[in-house]
Symmetry: C2
Subunit: 231 residues, 2 copies
């Protein structure tokens, strides 16, 4: 067992002990952590996150997933170029649309930071699904929903496990806007669809409570618009 | 605060205390529970599950979700008819394809049970996304992935919260194969997309460990096919 004390001052066993965090606490304090230290993350910790990701449900228990763990600097740089290409568009529009919205501008600053430091992120996890849909072939909505419903529950397990072990993470899709280029970088066959990227590393910032709309505002009883729990 | 002792022998406070379950334990023992008791589930417990669902990430923190809580018997029966229509197809194919696969045949039996008892399920939660994609208009894969990536992390929080409180649940899409009919049943505007259904109730069965492929079988380092952690 490696000692990971350089980055965290903790042994591997102590880091993994974090997974005993109360479920509710992990959920209440999960937030996207984009500013990451370049320090190494032990493989065992990354594999532990993925092991727990695999416990999430998949349609018909198909488990038709693959997880790319990207540590190679060249591959990270190539994904970083893709991320910068799409984020420059995203950030430009975002800054204009969110003038005066400080909370959202802070998110945009963090996205910018991540774009500027992409190569230094110690680990990228790319959750993928096997069983490609033909791209650009029109499908009813439920086909797409069932498909991605077999990967994002596992991504959320991965993010919660990372949070509980004190590892920073976030769910992003900007590096994958071109599936063709992403496939080339990662050597993926066309039968495997990269779904998103989770950059992982020890956080520069802190986890903490997030703000959300009150539950009564988004819950409807029996029919849309009937909101008995709205204040 | 209502006493929920009829179904569980516990007070509401005791049920909610379940949310302090260690994160790892909740993930390791999460499984689809389809056979549910018809007993009432207190609204406060359902709302607690949704409240924690709202803590999951959404793209650009859009929080563009709505959650339908369906308790009305007529609405449940209408969704049950839709579920039976698609499950009869699913079950027929499933039984033929899984001859001799006992584990999968047990899942199929549970899906059948759920189809036969759909109206008796105490609560259905239907997570939805605002901001419709034009149906049947071809889109690049990442558009769909980003879209559904804003609802399924929350669905997983909901399922984990249900598991920790001892409530049975599962992630299903069979009742929604016709988005048009589902919208009519739930009074949803065309700008709101129903994504899946989570039937909730007190379990007849038990939670417990699940089996999955070893993590080394689905993890690739840097390039697809490079599997250093495979046995």
């Amino acid at each position: 067992m490696t000692d990971v004390s350089d980055a965290t001052g903790k042994t591997l066993g102590e880091v993994e002990k974090g997974l005993d965090m109360p479920l509710q606490e992990a959920m209440l304090t999960q937030r996207a952590i984009r500013r990451l230290k370049p320090d190494l993350v032990d493989d065992a910790i990354v594999l532990k996150c993925i092991e727990l990701a695999l416990k999430a449900p998949t349609g018909s228990n198909g488990q038709n997933w693959e997880f790319l763990v990207v540590k190679d600097r060249e591959a990270k740089a190539a994904l970083g170029r893709e991320n910068r290409r799409s984020s420059s568009l995203y950030l430009g529009v975002g800054r204009r649309q969110n003038r005066g919205n400080d909370a959202m501008l802070r998110v945009i600053d963090a996205v910018q930071w991540q774009a500027d430091h992409f190569e230094e992120i110690p680990v990228l996890v790319v959750p993928c699904l096997r069983g490609n849909h033909l791209p650009f072939v029109p499908m009813p909505p439920m086909v797409h929903s069932s498909y991605y419903g077999s990967i994002y529950p596992s991504v959320q397990n991965l993010l919660l496990a990372a949070r509980a072990m004190g590892l920073g993470g976030a769910l992003i899709t900007l590096p994958l806007w071109s599936t063709t280029i992403a496939r080339r970088i990662l050597g993926l066959p066309t039968s495997v669809v990269p779904c998103c990227v989770v950059p992982l590393g020890w956080p520069q910032g802190r986890y903490g409570p997030t703000t959300r709309k009150p539950v009564g505002d988004v819950v409807h009883l029996d029919r849309f618009g009937n909101q008995p729990w709205k204040d």
